[in-house]
C-alpha cells in the first residue's frame, strides 16, 4: 500500500499549525491506528484522547478532513486519496493538539434536574418494552459530543454557550420527558434556560451521530412540541393555575432523595 500523509494540527491555546507525517499504511487500519503509530515513533507527545477504540466510549472525536468523526471508527481505506487532515473539534477550546476542553458539556450535565421516580413497588417497576424503547434510543448516546461540535448555534457563536444546552442535552431532556416513571417537569427550563428555541432543525447533529440516534426527529422536534404545548395551550395553562401542576416545576426539582 502507498504511504499516506497525515496533516495533523499541533499546538495549544496560544496557537499552532499543521504538521505533516508521512507514514506507511496497513490493511484495515482506522485513523486512530495511524495516529498511534505516529505517537509511538515520531511524536510521542502528540496529544489525542481515546479509550475503547471500539466506538463505544466516544473519547476520540476529532475533525477528519473537516468533518467530526470518531477516529477509531473511520477506516483509512474509506477516505479519499491524498493527505488526511486531522484537527481538534472546533466548538471547544483547545487544550493541546487534538485534545479539547469539553467541560461545557459536563457543566450542562450538572444543570439537568435529576430523574425522579415514584417509590419502587415490591419486586421492581413494571414497564413495557414499547415504553422503554423511546428512551433507550437516546441512552445509546456515547457522549462523543460531535453533535455539540457540529451545532452551528454554538460552533459559530461562542456567546450562545451561556444559554444553550445543545443536541446532546436535548436528547437527555427528551429521554427524561419520555421516561415512563419520571415525575419531574423540565419543560419550562428547557424553553427558558436551555435555549431549545435556538435550534432550527437543520439536522447537522443527526448526520454526525455515530450511534445513529435520530436526534432531530425523535428528540428535538417532539421536545419542541411538548414545550410549546405546556406553555401556550390555554387549557393546560388554566389547568396549571387552578390545580397546580402534578409534575414539579423545574425550579423545585431537587436532587432526588436516596432510596
Amino acid at each position: 500500500m502507498a504511504d499516506v500523509t497525515m496533516r495533523i494540527w499541533r499546538g495549544d491555546a496560544s496557537g499552532g499549525d499543521f504538521e505533516n507525517y508521512t507514514i506507511a499504511q496497513n490493511e484495515g487500519e482506522v485513523v486512530l491506528d495511524v495516529i498511534h503509530r505516529i505517537q509511538a515513533t515520531d511524536a510521542p507527545d502528540l496529544a489525542c484522547r481515546w479509550n475503547c477504540k471500539a466506538g463505544k466510549c466516544g473519547s476520540c472525536a476529532a475533525e477528519i478532513n473537516g468533518k467530526p468523526r470518531l477516529m477509531c471508527m473511520t477506516r483509512m481505506d474509506q477516505l479519499p486519496e491524498g493527505p488526511v487532515t486531522v484537527t481538534p473539534m472546533k466548538t471547544f477550546p483547545i487544550i493541546r493538539d487534538l485534545v479539547t476542553d469539553v467541560s461545557f458539556n459536563f457543566a450542562q450535565a450538572e444543570k439537568v434536574p435529576a430523574f425522579l421516580p415514584p417509590p419502587m413497588p415490591e419486586g421492581g417497576y413494571v414497564m413495557f418494552q414499547e415504553d422503554v424503547e423511546r428512551g433507550q434510543e437516546f441512552r445509546k448516546c456515547i457522549e462523543c459530543f460531535m453533535c455539540q461540535d457540529v451545532c452551528h448555534v454554538i460552533r459559530d457563536h461562542e456567546e450562545n454557550k451561556a444559554h444553550y444546552a445543545g443536541p446532546r442535552f436535548f436528547i437527555r431532556y427528551a429521554e427524561l420527558e419520555m421516561h415512563p416513571l419520571d415525575q419531574n417537569d423540565r419543560r419550562d427550563l428547557v424553553r427558558e434556560e436551555m435555549g431549545l428555541g435556538y435550534c432550527n432543525i437543520t439536522k447537522c447533529c443527526t448526520e454526525v451521530c455515530p450511534e445513529h440516534i435520530k436526534i432531530t426527529d425523535n428528540a428535538i422536534i417532539p421536545l419542541k412540541e411538548r414545550v410549546v404545548d405546556a406553555h401556550y395551550d390555554p387549557v393546560a395553562w388554566l389547568g396549571r393555575k387552578i390545580l397546580r401542576r402534578t409534575k414539579r416545576s423545574s425550579a423545585e426539582a431537587t436532587v432526588q432523595p436516596a432510596p
Binding site: D12, E27, G28, E29, V30, D33, Q39, A40, T41, P44, D45, L46, A47, C48, R49, W50, N51, C52, K53, A54, G55, K56, C57, G58, S59, M73, R75, I95, R96, D97, V99, D101, F106, A109, E110, V112, A114, F115, P117, M120, G124, Y125, V126, M127, Q129, V132, G135, Q136, R139, K140, I142, E143, L176, H179, L181, D182, V255, Q256, A258, P259
Partner: protein, 604 residues
C-alpha cells in the same frame, strides 16, 4: 516539610470512575461524607462502557426456579472453587437489589412480556440471568451511575492520574499524589479512606479487549502501599475477540452472540465444542446438536449447548482447534449466528456487534460468520480484601471491582463483573464509612513519600538520552503475550521473570520528549512501573501454580491438583518501591460454612 502543591481534602477519595468507583461514591455520599472521585479519563469513559452482554442477578424473571443459591453454585464452579466464598455468597444474594436500584436512578433495561427486567443466557449460568440492554449494558450502567453521582453534587477530578498512595507516620493510608494531565501540574489529596476502583491490567498483553487505561495502577499502588495481591496468575482470555483486521485484533465480541444462539465452527464447518466438554460439566451439557438447539427455547427440553461452557473452557478449545490446523485464514475460528437467527433478530439483539463488524471488518454478521479468537480480557486476581467491607490489610485502603481479588476465583463467569462492581462498590463505600466512623484515621500526609513520587515521575524529563516509553510498552506486550499467555509452561514463565527484571532496568532509562502538558508519552512512562510490577506478580503466580485451573493453564501440568485448591498465592513487597522484590506466600482459602458447602454438593 510544607506542602506547596495544589491540595484537596476528603473523607473518602475514590480512585477510578468505572462502575465500582461510582457506586462506592454514591454510598459514601449517602452517608453524609465528603467524597471525591479521581479518574485518569473523562467521566463516563471508563472501561465499564465496554461491557456488553449484561449483569448477572438471580431475579428469577425468566426462570422462576432461579435463586441466589444456584447463582452462588454457578459462580463457585465457574471459579474452580478458588473463590472467596463469602464474596460469592454476598454477590449472589445482593445483585438483584443492585439491578433494581439502577432503575430507581433512571436505567432502562430490556423487558419481559409482562414488564419485568428481561434476563438472557450466558456461559456457566444455569438459568437466563443477565439483565441487559441489547449489547450495551455497560454503557447503561455507567451512564446511570454517572448521572446519579452528578445529581448528588460529587467532586470529580477528570484527567487526573494518581501516581502513588501516601501513608501517615503510623502507616495508615492518608492520601495520594497525582498529576493533572492537561497541565502536567502535581496535586495532592488527603483522605481518611481511599477506595481503589481502578479496573484491570490487560494492557500488558498484545491482544487485549482492554483500553489504554488497563495498566494495573490500582493493583500496583496497593502492592507498593503494603497490601497483598492474590490469584494474579488467573487471567481470563475471553474466547471471542476479533482477529481481523490486525488493527482491531483483540476487540471484544460479546458472549451474548452465543447466548442468543451463535455457535463456534472450525474450518471444516464442524461444531467442535462437543469434543471439549470437561467431566465437571458433562452431566449438564448437551451431547448432540439437536439436544443443544432445543435448549435455547426451553431449558427443560434439553441440556445446555457446549458453546456456553465457562469462558476458560471455550478459550482453550478454540486455541486447540487453531493449533490442530483447523483455524480460519486469520488464525481464529468461526462464530456463526447468521445461519441460525434471522437478520432482524440479530440487528435487534446485537446492534453494536452488527456495527462493529460492518464498519471495522466489512463483515455483515446477519449473512456471514465472524472470525474470532481468544483475547486478554479480565484479571480475576487482585487486591486481597475482606468480603463484607472491601477493606485491604492496609488501614484506610479499600478496593472494589476488577482491582479486588477473590470474588471470581480462577475464572469469572460472564455477567458477574457488572454485578460485582455494584455489589462491592456499595460495600466499599459502606466499609470506608464505618472505618471513618470508628475514628482511627490518618491526619497527615508523609510528605517525603510525596516528594519521592514526584521526583520519580519527573526523572524521564531530566535524562539527556534514553529510551522511548512506547518501545518498552510494545516489547513488554509482546513478551507477556508470548510467554505468559493463555497456555503456559515452566520454561516460558521463568524466561518472562528474567525479562521483567530487564524491563525494570529499561524503565529507569526512559527519556520523555516534549513538555508536561497533555503528553501521552510521559503518561505512558508513569504507567510502565505499574504494568511491570503487576506482570511480575502474574508471572510469579504462573510459575508457582503447577497445575491448570480456570484462567491459568500449564501445558506441563494439564490437570487440576486438589492440593492447589486450598490456597491462593499472595504477593506483597516490603520496600514500597515499584522495583522492590516481590514476596509470595500461600494464603489459605477462607473456610466454607457447611450450609454453603451443601449448596455445592447438591446434584444438578
Amino acid at each position: 516539610m510544607t506542602n506547596t502543591y495544589e491540595h484537596h481534602e476528603y473523607d473518602v477519595l475514590i480512585i477510578g470512575a468505572g462502575g465500582a468507583g461510582l457506586r462506592a461514591a454514591i454510598e459514601a455520599k449517602q452517608r453524609g461524607l465528603k467524597v471525591g472521585i479521581i479518574t485518569k479519563s473523562l467521566l463516563g469513559k471508563a472501561h465499564t462502557v465496554m461491557a456488553e452482554g449484561g449483569m448477572a442477578a438471580a431475579m428469577g424473571n425468566v426462570y422462576a426456579e432461579d435463586n441466589w443459591m444456584v447463582h452462588f453454585r454457578d459462580t463457585m464452579r465457574g471459579g474452580k472453587y478458588l473463590n472467596n466464598n463469602r464474596m460469592a455468597e454476598l454477590h449472589a444474594k445482593e445483585s438483584p437489589d443492585r439491578v433494581r436500584e439502577l432503575e430507581q436512578w433512571g436505567a432502562l433495561f430490556d423487558r419481559t412480556k409482562d414488564g419485568k427486567i428481561l434476563q438472557r443466557d450466558f456461559g456457566g449460568h444455569r438459568y437466563a440471568r443477565l439483565a441487559h440492554v441489547g449489547d450495551r449494558t455497560g454503557l447503561e450502567l455507567i451512564r446511570t451511575l454517572q448521572q446519579k453521582v452528578v445529581s448528588m453534587g460529587t467532586d470529580v477530578f477528570m484527567e487526573c492520574k494518581v501516581l502513588k498512595l501516601v501513608h501517615d507516620a503510623d502507616g495508615r493510608i492518608a492520601g495520594c499524589v497525582a498529576y493533572w494531565r492537561p497541565t502536567g501540574e502535581f496535586v495532592t489529596f488527603s483522605a481518611k479512606a481511599i477506595i481503589l476502583a481502578t479496573g484491570g491490567v490487560g494492557k500488558s498483553w498484545k491482544f487485549t479487549s482492554n483500553s489504554w487505561e488497563g495498566t494495573g495502577d490500582g493493583h500496583a499502588m496497593a502492592l507498593w502501599a503494603g497490601a497483598q495481591l492474590i490469584d494474579m496468575e488467573c487471567i481470563q482470555f475471553h474466547p471471542t475477540g476479533m482477529v481481523w483486521p490486525l488493527s482491531v485484533r483483540g476487540l471484544l465480541v460479546t458472549e451474548g452472540v452465543r447466548g442468543d444462539g451463535g455457535v463456534l465452527r472450525n474450518s471444516e464447518g464442524k461444531r467442535f465444542m462437543f469434543n471439549y466438554v470437561a467431566d465437571m460439566f458433562r452431566a449438564e451439557t448437551a451431547e448432540s446438536e439437536e439436544e443443544a438447539d432445543k435448549w435455547y427455547d426451553d431449558h427443560t427440553a434439553g441440556r445446555r449447548p457446549p458453546e456456553l461452557l465457562p469462558r476458560d473452557e471455550v478459550a482453550r478449545a478454540i486455541n486447540a482447534e487453531v493449533k490442530a490446523g483447523r483455524g480460519t485464514p486469520h488464525g481464529g475460528v468461526y462464530l456463526d449466528i447468521a445461519s441460525r437467527r434471522s437478520a432482524e433478530f440479530i440487528r435487534r439483539r446485537l446492534p453494536s456487534m452488527y456495527h462493529q463488524f460492518m464498519e471495522l471488518a466489512g463483515v455483515d454478521i446477519t449473512s456471514e460468520s465472524m472470525e474470532i479468537g481468544p483475547t486478554c480480557h479480565y484479571i480475576m486476581g487482585g487486591v486481597k480484601v475482606d468480603a463484607d467491607t472491601a477493606a485491604t490489610s492496609v488501614p484506610g485502603l479499600f478496593a472494589a471491582g476488577e482491582v479486588a481479588g477473590g470474588m471470581h476465583g480462577a475464572n469469572r463467569l460472564g455477567g458477574n463483573s457488572l454485578s460485582d462492581l455494584v455489589v462491592f462498590g456499595r460495600r466499599a463505600g459502606m466499609g470506608a464509612a464505618e472505618y471513618i466512623e470508628a475514628g482511627e484515621v490518618a491526619t497527615s500526609l508523609n510528605m517525603a513519600e510525596v516528594e519521592e513520587a514526584i521526583r520519580e515521575a519527573l526523572a524521564p524529563f531530566e535524562r539527556t538520552e534514553g529510551e522511548n516509553p512506547y518501545d518498552i510498552q510494545r516489547d513488554l506486550q509482546e513478551m507477556m503475550q508470548a510467554n505468559v499467555g493463555i497456555i503456559r509452561n515452566a520454561q516460558e514463565v521463568e524466561f518472562a521473570l528474567g525479562e521483567l527484571e530487564k524491563f525494570t532496568q529499561r524503565v529507569k532509562n526512559i527519556k520523555v520528549k516534549g513538555g508536561r502538558a497533555y503528553n501521552p508519552g510521559w503518561n505512558l512512562a508513569t504507567d510502565l512501573p505499574s504494568m511491570i510490577s503487576v506482570s511480575k506478580c502474574v508471572a510469579t503466580g504462573a510459575s508457582l501454580r503447577k497445575e491448570s485451573r480456570g484462567g491459568h493453564t500449564r501445558e506441563d501440568y494439564p490437570a487440576a491438583d486438589p492440593e492447589f485448591a486450598k490456597f491462593n498465592f499472595a504477593h506483597s513487597t516490603n520496600g514500597g518501591n515499584w522495583d522492590s522484590p516481590i514476596v509470595t506466600v500461600e494464603s489459605p482459602l477462607l473456610p466454607m460454612p457447611d450450609e454453603l458447602k451443601a449448596l455445592l454438593e447438591e446434584a444438578h
